[in-house]
């Protein structure tokens, strides 16, 4: 029989050969996650070839699933165990019909043995009652000594009394031997730092860094505050003038007035007296809210009494009189007036009612 005729015969005979395996539906409930999709009764076998190989060298694992009765659904997948995946690099080669089945079909249709069995199976021309799952495995380590058993989970419609009509079969583990070979000779991989011995101080005992307790933390937080308060007080005691100056610097009015008084030349003349009087007047207006532009000594004393500074009233009165004497009566030479004015401003700035303002 010529080959084209053989193929035509196959196509004609196919419906008669292929089995229509219409069985009961596979229940979804209770379906294991490693379910292969198969329904029927099956036998499981596995083999590995070769069984001795170098590390990282390939071997082929074949898992044969053979129907032991009517097949409602063919197996579609196998879930390999983590143990197998841990020991081997795995490459799936696919699902094939059993060679014996293919050979039988080839004989049936007059094909020579070995003639394109894969083509036949792919075309669905072989009534596959046996399936071969094929994997290429490469052992990762020298101490790998077996291929763990492969699990095959299928639905068995004949288990009528079982609430879970799923069965799992395990193939026997397959012993192998991983030997040292040429291909296993490889260099260590690392940076130069990896190859350096850097164990100086490697005998020290370290603890994980942790924070001290709350009392210590509270103490740490309090220490600077207390220290600074003490420092400030000591500083004020040691340098009272500096402290007073600092206090005054906070009053812009006092600062301006003192600067103005510093410009008054000695001995005091009329212009200097006018300048000093203006500086004092501005200070009193800005600092003590004195509303009069050119206050008389009496008005100033009355205002001092109103704001609680009566103790300084007489001093202010005296100084204003002295200034007036220089401004209007052409008195000269009393350089002490300016110094007294400076002292007065400093003294006023230390008054509690002003210091806190």
């Amino acid at each position: 029989m010529s080959r084209p005729l053989s193929l035509a015969a196959i196509l004609l005979l196919l419906p008669a050969v292929a089995t229509a395996d219409d069985g009961p539906a596979i229940p979804l409930a209770g379906r294991p996650e490693i379910f292969s999709g198969a329904s029927g009764r099956f036998l499981l076998e596995a083999e590995v070839d070769p069984d001795t190989m170098a590390m990282e060298e390939p071997c082929v694992l074949r898992v044969y699933i053979t129907a032991a009765g009517p097949v409602a659904a063919a197996p579609e997948r196998l879930v390999l165990s983590d143990l197998l995946l841990a020991d081997f690099h795995v490459e799936e080669l696919g699902v094939f019909p059993s060679l014996s089945e293919t050979a039988r079909a080839a004989t049936l249709f007059g094909l020579g043995s070995g003639e394109q069995p894969a083509l036949l199976s792919l075309a669905g021309l072989v009534p596959t009652r046996s399936w071969e799952f094929r994997y290429r495995l490469r052992p990762k380590r020298l101490d790998v000594d077996e291929v763990p058993g492969v699990a095959f989970c299928f639905h068995d419609p004949l288990l009528l009394t079982a609430s879970k009509p799923f069965m799992t079969q395990y193939a026997d583990p397959l012993p192998i031997r991983v030997v040292k070979g040429e291909s296993t000779v490889r260099a260590l991989v690392g940076t130069e730092a990896t190859f350096a011995w850097q164990a100086a101080g490697a005998l020290d005992r370290w603890e994980r860094p942790s924070l001290p307790g709350w009392p210590v933390l509270l103490g740490l937080a309090t220490l600077p505050v207390v220290g600074c308060v003490v420092w400030y007080r000591v500083w004020r005691r040691l340098y009272p003038d500096a402290a007073r100056q600092a206090l005054i610097r906070r009053s812009r009015a006092a600062k301006v007035a003192l600067a103005e008084l510093a410009r008054v030349r000695s001995p005091l003349d009329r212009a200097g007296a006018n300048r000093a009087a203006a500086a004092l007047g501005r200070y009193l207006r800005e600092r003590l809210d004195l509303r009069t532009n050119e206050p008389t000594p009496g008005e100033v004393v009355a205002h001092f009494e109103r704001v609680g500074l009566a103790a300084h009233g007489q001093e202010v009165h005296r100084l204003l009189d002295a200034l007036d004497a220089h401004r209007f009566a052409s008195a000269v030479g009393d350089a002490d007036i300016v110094a007294s004015l400076r002292r007065l401003i400093l003294t006023l700035e230390e008054e509690p009612c002003l210091a806190s303002a």
């Binding site: 294991p32 996650e33 490693i34 879930v79 165990s81 983590d82 143990l83 995946l85 841990a86 020991d87 690099h89 990762k140 699990a151 799992t168 040292k180 296993t184 000779v185 490889r186 260099a187 260590l188 991989v189 690392g190 940076t191 730092a193 990896t194 190859f195 011995w197 850097q198 164990a199 100086a200 101080g201 490697a202 005998l203 020290d204 005992r205 370290w206 603890e207 994980r208 860094p209 942790s210 924070l211 001290p212 933390l217 740490l220 937080a221 220490l223 600077p224 505050v225 220290g227 600074c228 308060v229 420092w231 400030y232 500083w235 500096a242 402290a243 600092a246 206090l247 610097r249 906070r250």
Partner: protein
């Protein structure tokens, strides 16, 4: 296994210095055979055994972790190396040698495409110091003290410049303190580290082989995750991307 028994007796009878010296000798012998992994491996195993014996005696420091990590890395124990580097960094978060070693070890992990199974990215530049809690506390305390000094000095001299110094230092102290609190909170919530020690480990939906993989992509050796819970010989882990699943304990290294 008389050989192992003799080895255990030897380890038990050695001082820490002896163990370290022996580990160094074994490590150097392995480096001499660096062109042949098969020849180097027994030496590396011996070095690892001695270094681990040191750790078992309570000796812990960043240098020891670095050396142990290097030995494991050269011996192809990528998971163990990553774990050792992490242990060292827990002791000294700013150790640049450990960080560089961890980066190299991670570069050898065959991560799948995308972000799946990858460790969290560190966006800070490598030269930037990673202060530990004690350093942060010292910085915050120093800044607080400087702030107090600045404010006191500004009070003494009525100086605006000192006021700026004081306020600035107090802000730094506040920032350091905030960082410290965040760090402590994160550390308190952190779960033990799990490193996958085998290739192509599937993250499963449950604690058994019968459970299907949660993701089709298997985890490569060296994947870092956090332990959520344990059940028998199975660990529930969480990847940095939030993916949760179960893996067999024997295929992992746990902190």
């Amino acid at each position: 296994m008389p050989g192992v028994g003799v080895m255990l007796l030897l380890v038990a009878g050695s001082t820490a210095a002896d163990l370290l010296a022996r580990a160094e000798a074994a490590f150097r012998a392995a480096v001499e055979s660096r062109d042949d992994h098969t020849k180097a491996e027994p030496h590396l195993r011996a070095a690892i055994r001695d270094l681990e014996a040191l750790q078992a005696r309570g000796v812990r420091n960043p240098r020891l972790s670095l050396q142990l990590g290097n030995a494991r890395l050269l011996a192809d124990d990528l998971g163990g190396a990553i774990l050792a580097y992490h242990e060292g960094l827990a002791l000294s978060p700013g150790d640049r040698d450990l960080r560089a070693a961890l980066d190299f070890a991670r570069s050898r992990v065959a991560y799948p495409a995308g972000t799946f199974a990858r460790p969290p990215t560190d966006d800070l530049p490598p030269w930037l110091p990673r202060p530990g809690p004690v350093t942060l506390l010292l910085v915050a305390f120093g800044a607080f003290a400087l702030g107090c000094v600045g404010l006191t000095r500004s009070r003494m001299l009525a100086s605006g410049r000192w006021l700026t110094v004081g306020v600035g230092a107090l802000l730094i102290a506040l920032a350091g303190l905030t960082l410290l609190v965040m760090q402590q909170r994160a550390a308190a919530l952190e779960r033990p580290l799990v490193v996958v020690a085998a290739d192509d480990v599937l993250l499963r939906r449950g604690d058994g082989l019968s459970f299907p993989p949660r993701y089709a992509t298997p985890l490569p050796r060296g994947t870092e995750a956090r332990l959520r819970r344990e059940r028998g010989d199975w660990l529930q882990i969480e990847l940095s991307g939030g993916e949760i699943g179960w893996v067999p304990r024997e295929l992992t290294r746990v902190e």
